[in-house]
């Protein structure tokens, strides 16, 4: 497989606020046409990292390039060529959808303006609502407007900061279809999220915890790297089993899904013994299950979260 050219290349980005290191030597590598998921718990430094890539924050150390432009020196050129969707809706609520897009079109000097705005409205199905004030839109429509505004100038790189927070499942699905369509046209996307199903729609994921990258690769790679074993216990509707299992050595996580229990551990042998001890004499079927991304992330959160003072 031939390597596509790098769109984001960052090494050892570090950002401190006061004496708190929010981003700690984060390196990123995103190739053209890729959709890379940027994951991590709240406050892990995702937004700060993205802001450094857009030139909105100056890194304390480390360096990086977006689309070949230096993130500290060529911020103007980066701004012109990327689309950045902020976590919080940051368009004007007292302007209509169309007025917001016209504002953006003028800022990027898109000519003829009306044509660009019309096409973007049409592409994202906003035409019928173009006169509505942004402040009166629901979460899903606001997000669609924000996406429209940041892809109108046809950027080569899209940075999305938790774009689907507070958006219903259908709108999320449509949003991701849109992202994949754009990626198919050669757009590169770095998207931060903490929805597992969204992480699974990315080509690659990067997991960051307390400012440090703790896992990266494709979903399969990340799951494999974790070396977790998952056992599925069917017919275990009894809530008391959960507590019993949690007390056993070798059991890291127990999660109940209706009548089945997912029991996760790092040591396969120890886990199996622990489960057998608990289910003894009960009518429960134990089988090997697939470790999910969520299991991996909870494991990562516990592992790296505890290391902090």
């Amino acid at each position: 497989m031939t390597e596509a050219p790098a769109v984001i290349e960052a090494t050892d980005l570090t950002k401190r606020f006061g004496d708190k290191t929010v981003v700690d030597h984060v390196s990123l590598d995103v190739r053209q046409g890729e959709i890379v998921g940027f994951l991590g718990p709240n406050g892990s430094g995702k937004t700060t990292t993205i802001r450094m890539l857009t030139g909105l924050l100056t890194p304390d150390s480390g360096s990086g390039h977006c689309l070949g432009y230096d993130i500290t020196r060529d911020a103007e050129a980066i701004k012109r060529n990327i689309g950045y969707m902020t976590q919080r809706f940051s368009f004007y609520e007292d302007l209509s959808i169309r007025e917001n897009l016209e504002f953006v079109a003028r800022l990027y000097c898109l000519r003829p303006m009306a044509e660009h705005v019309d096409r973007t409205l049409d592409d994202l199905g906003l035409t019928s609502r173009q006169g509505q004030l942004a402040g009166q839109l629901s979460g899903g429509w606001k997000q669609r407007l924000a996406l429209a505004a940041c892809i109108m100038h046809q950027p080569k790189l899209l940075l999305l900061d938790e774009p689907t927070a507070g958006v219903d499942p259908q709108a999320r699905r449509e949003f991701w279809d849109q992202i994949h369509r754009l990626a198919g046209e050669g757009l590169t996307v770095l998207v931060s999220t903490h929805y597992m199903d969204e992480a699974e729609r990315c080509h690659r994921i990067i997991y960051i915890s307390y400012g440090k990258v703790v896992a990266r690769g494709t979903v399969e790679e990340v799951i494999a790297q974790s070396a977790l074993t998952t056992l599925v216990l069917q017919g275990a509707g009894d809530g008391r089993l959960v507590d019993a299992l949690r007390r056993e050595p070798g059991v890291d996580q127990v999660a109940q899904f209706g009548n089945t229990l997912h029991v996760v551990g790092t040591d396969a042998g120890e886990l199996r013994q622990a489960v057998e001890r608990v289910v003894q004499g009960r009518d429960i079927r134990v089988s090997e299950g697939e470790t999910s991304l969520e299991d991996v992330f909870i494991r990562l959160m516990e592992q790296y979260g505890e290391a902090r003072p």
Partner: protein, 377 residues
């Protein structure tokens, strides 16, 4: 590229204009403030009160006492109570505050006057508010003299009051009657513009920060100067709406003369409005919240009112206060606007007042551009 810059400026400008149009309360405030201030300062506050209630004690009415009474009435300073009162009545009324002045003619006043014996004429004033009485008292001498001028001629000409030992000559130039509102209404133009213009832009950037739109604005390719021009320009228009309201009222309601060059006034106004907007914008780049920006505006507004020569005569202030006053754009604008409206100044006359405003404008703009945060650091 120039075309790109103008497109970006237009983006901000159109956006600001739409926001302004939708913000009904702000818009109403822009029109309401000048009208309210005009009513308050133009009508209610008057440092030269007239029609002050006055009682007369006239033991022997004659043609001369009637002439003086008529002259007093004509001066509009005094509102005379009907008929003569007794000394006791008059004193009680003064004490109660129903009268501000009592004028008493001594017995034999007319006889002494005709004989040229310079009779005394007593005016008693309620001086608890010295400012209220001082102008009327100062005018009294002249009123009496002018009242008697026509009566004392021919053989009686020598009975005219001789000049007092100290000859105080007061020439009230440009405003011979000393009409307060001629001074206050043009001053109000400057005060209202200072307050509203500074406030409007002071909250403009902090509002973007508080609404979360600043991050987006910074992430887009727009330069600090473009943002500043785009945000200031729409308010120049608003400023001129206020100017129109005030000048129309000045002319039609208050009868303020406008004898100077309108071009000079227009140039001065444009620069003064822009300077205040730039100043507010600078506050906006320094303040961290809208609240802080408003506090800074009022912190600036107070000395502007007190030290510019709007409230108190500029030359009457101690020297250090005058120096402080010279730093304020309003000080220079007041001279400029009084010059163009009342003194008939033209472009050349206002240059010494225009230059400091231009200087302040330049300085403030540079600070604003320097302070504008390009990043979220």
């Amino acid at each position: 590229m120039r075309g790109e810059a103008s497109s970006r400026i237009r983006a901000i400008l159109v956006k600001e204009f739409i926001q302004l149009r939708r913000d009904r309360i702000t818009f109403a405030m822009m029109v309401g403030i000048p009208i309210m201030q005009l009513i308050l300062f133009g009508f209610a506050i008057n440092t030269d009160p007239k029609h002050l209630p006055t009682g007369m004690i006239v033991p022997e009415p004659s043609a001369y006492t009637r002439s003086i009474t008529a002259a007093m009435r004509n001066s509009e300073y005094f509102e005379l109570r009907h008929g003569s009162m007794s000394e006791r009545q008059a004193r009680e009324a003064l004490k109660r505050g129903t009268l501000s002045f009592v004028v008493s003619f001594p017995p034999g006043f007319s006889r002494d006057l005709v004989r040229g014996q310079e009779p005394q004429l007593l005016i008693e004033a309620d001086a608890t508010d010295p400012a209220a009485a001082s102008n009327a008292v100062a005018a009294f001498d002249q009123i009496v003299e002018s009242g008697l001028r026509d009566d004392l001629n021919g053989p009686l000409a020598q009975a005219r009051q001789p000049a007092p030992p100290v000859d105080v000559v007061v020439h009230r130039l440009y405003n011979p009657e000393g009409v307060t509102r001629y001074n206050i209404v043009p001053g109000l133009l400057g005060v209202i513009l200072t307050m509203t213009m500074t406030l409007m832009t002071a909250i403009s950037l902090t509002r973007e920060v508080e609404r979360g739109t600043m991050e987006n604005l910074l992430a887009m390719p727009v330069k600090p100067l473009e943002v500043m021009i785009g945000k200031i320009t729409p308010y120049i228009g608003i400023g001129f709406v206020q100017v129109a309201i005030i000048l129309l009222a000045a002319h039609f309601v208050f009868g303020v003369p406008m004898i100077g060059s309108f071009v000079a006034l227009f140039v001065g106004l444009t620069l003064f409005i822009a300077t205040n907007l730039a100043l507010g914008y600078t506050f906006s780049t320094v303040a961290r919240s809208q609240m802080q920006a408003m506090q800074m505006t009022f912190f600036f507004f107070l000395p502007s009112i007190l030290l510019s020569g709007f409230m108190f005569p500029f030359r009457g202030m101690p020297e250090w206060a005058q120096w402080l006053g010279e730093v304020l754009p309003l000080t220079h604008f007041l001279r400029l606007v009084r010059g163009t409206l009342l003194k008939g100044s033209g472009m050349n006359d206002i240059l010494p007042n225009l230059l400091p405003i231009v200087l302040i404008f330049g300085l403030v703009s540079v600070i604003a551009l320097f302070r504008y945060r390009r990043t979220l650091d």
